[in-house]
Point group: C2
Chain length 323, copies 2
């Protein structure tokens, strides 16, 4: 899909949107490609009214924790239960490799064959900020397409991952006995974003000790949290513990619905999204108006030679755009 | 310094700047606190003409690689050689812990006693984007103060670390035999940002194998790079290999000067800094003008209930700000 060159007229775009809304997966893939490349603003606007039905699940954890396999198994189970699932696998680890190292995604290709599943791998091509934004846009497409669940898989807890966790209704942190002790996990900020903690590869040495440590740490740190800290053991490769994980996700969803947290969280996300999008548009405008005038080089030269004061120059440039 | 409440008048600020420029460390600390809290725009503008003399060294690597000790030893050696050194230790790992886990910094307090050293620990308090910005601002203060070297120590390679590596003339990646194999290092994007690779704790098992692997990988990946990939072994706790590291930094500096890379890099950084600062100011302006009107809640409600289209609303709001 990625390499395809499609000439779009406005009418074509609407055609694409209509076909997508009627359940055409090829149109979905094409719309996502457009959106990923930042050419999808009309598509997003047209799809927006149809989104908002899906439940968002974030899966994060260190490399090698078995996240892909877990997502694979969980998706299979949801689809077996009659649900439609979109999976977005985000790999921001190296902004340089351009996603070439997403090889382990191949494992999931068997899922792609299923009718009610759509999988998209995304890697950073340029800015990391753009990746979080693109992830949200792609999720919107999947949501409008009619997916019941959208799973977003990320590595670790960099800024992108935190931003993405922010978008999800339920965030699952996946660890393995080798992930280190509870203190390290806490240090990495993983406990704070987790709604559910999974110790995967639970047949390995140290799994029980890790669960005990996590229980102790989470009780100590998060006494006031009403939802608590479910800590589950899974062996994803053997499909063990997936049932329980699935039902714990269900419990969390029920909890969110009952407590008003689901609605509150989604309103909060809209609030942030409005701010983000405005900032982005204004940024584009500033870049178009000020920086692309060819005057940037002159300014850089002036600042480098200290003829201009960096901070005064910036003030002047901003005034030019927004009076 | 952090807890101090100082009432500033404009005259006070200039006084602070003058004292800083005369070499007063207390004023430096106060200026840095102001700058860190985002209240230092006048200070930065006043200091800007005096900055640009320092050489920037970035030190990054996984937790537990012994970065602090290495920075400690390297700083001591530079100071013994008559240089003045500023150290900024950045810990962005947890945006939640607020820097409470920076305990290992305590080890470096013996350095603080030296007249020609100034150390600042920084942790993310809120946004991660703000941390990279604050680091650059604090570095500017140290630079204007007259430091010959500014060392910026960060953990891992998240977005903040990449941004910070971007600011440095020489970037050193510190690994230990336990850091995993060369593929993992490459996957983490560490090779791409490294000017010098250090295998620390080189008395441990696997050190030689790691060096060999890194040599092989770097040769394979980076044939075209003129500077090459010096891979050094150190045992920082025993002060071993620090001489060689120091002289390799010198060689890299000479290489950059000879090839025009130093000037080119710094111009490039000014270019990016101008863009960044403009974006930031625009963001502030958007928040002040559009979003704080109290109308935001109304808009959120409309978008949540689908009475308003998110993307159309954003377009309208942007038009309000920039006609």
């Amino acid at each position: 899909m990625d390499g395809e060159v499609v000439q779009f007229e406005y009418g074509d775009k609407m055609n694409l949107v209509n076909k997508l809304l009627k359940g055409d997966k090829v149109s979905l893939a094409r719309a996502i490609s457009k959106v990923e490349n930042g050419e999808g603003s009309h598509i997003l606007e047209a799809l927006f009214p149809y989104a908002g039905q899906a439940y968002y699940i974030g899966i994060t954890g260190p490399p090698g924790a078995g996240k892909s396999t877990l997502v694979d198994r969980l998706t299979n189970q949801l689809v077996d239960g009659g649900k439609r699932v979109g999976v977005i696998a985000v790999d921001p680890t190296s902004p340089f490799s351009g996603g070439a190292l997403l090889g382990d995604r191949i494992r999931m290709s068997n899922l792609s064959g299923r009718d009610d599943v759509f999988i998209r791998s995304m890697a950073s091509r340029g800015s990391l900020g753009g990746l979080a934004r693109a992830t949200k846009d792609v999720a919107l497409c999947l949501d409008a397409f009619g997916m019941n669940y959208i799973m977003v898989e990320t590595v670790g807890v960099g800024q992108v991952e935190l931003e993405i966790a922010d978008v999800c209704d339920t965030t699952i942190v996946v660890l393995v006995p080798e992930s280190g002790d509870a203190i390290q996990v806490m240090k990495a900020g993983l406990l704070e974003i987790a709604d559910i903690i999974v110790v995967n590869k639970a047949d390995r040495e140290g799994a029980d000790r890790m669960v005990t440590e996590l229980q102790f740490t989470s009780e100590f740190r998060c006494r006031k949290r009403k939802w608590g800290y479910p800590i589950l053991k899974t062996i994803a490769t053997q499909n063990k513990g997936i049932d329980e994980l699935n039902s714990t996700i269900g419990s969390h969803r029920d909890y969110l619905r009952g407590s008003g947290g689901l609605e509150g969280g989604r309103r909060e996300r809209i609030r942030r999204r409005i701010t983000e999008l405005i900032e982005e548009k204004v940024k584009e405008r500033v870049q178009d108006n000020v920086l692309e005038e060819g005057k940037l080089e002159e300014t850089v030269e002036g600042v480098y030679t200290k003829k201009l004061n960096l901070f005064r120059v910036v003030d002047d440039l901003v005034k030019k755009v927004i009076g």
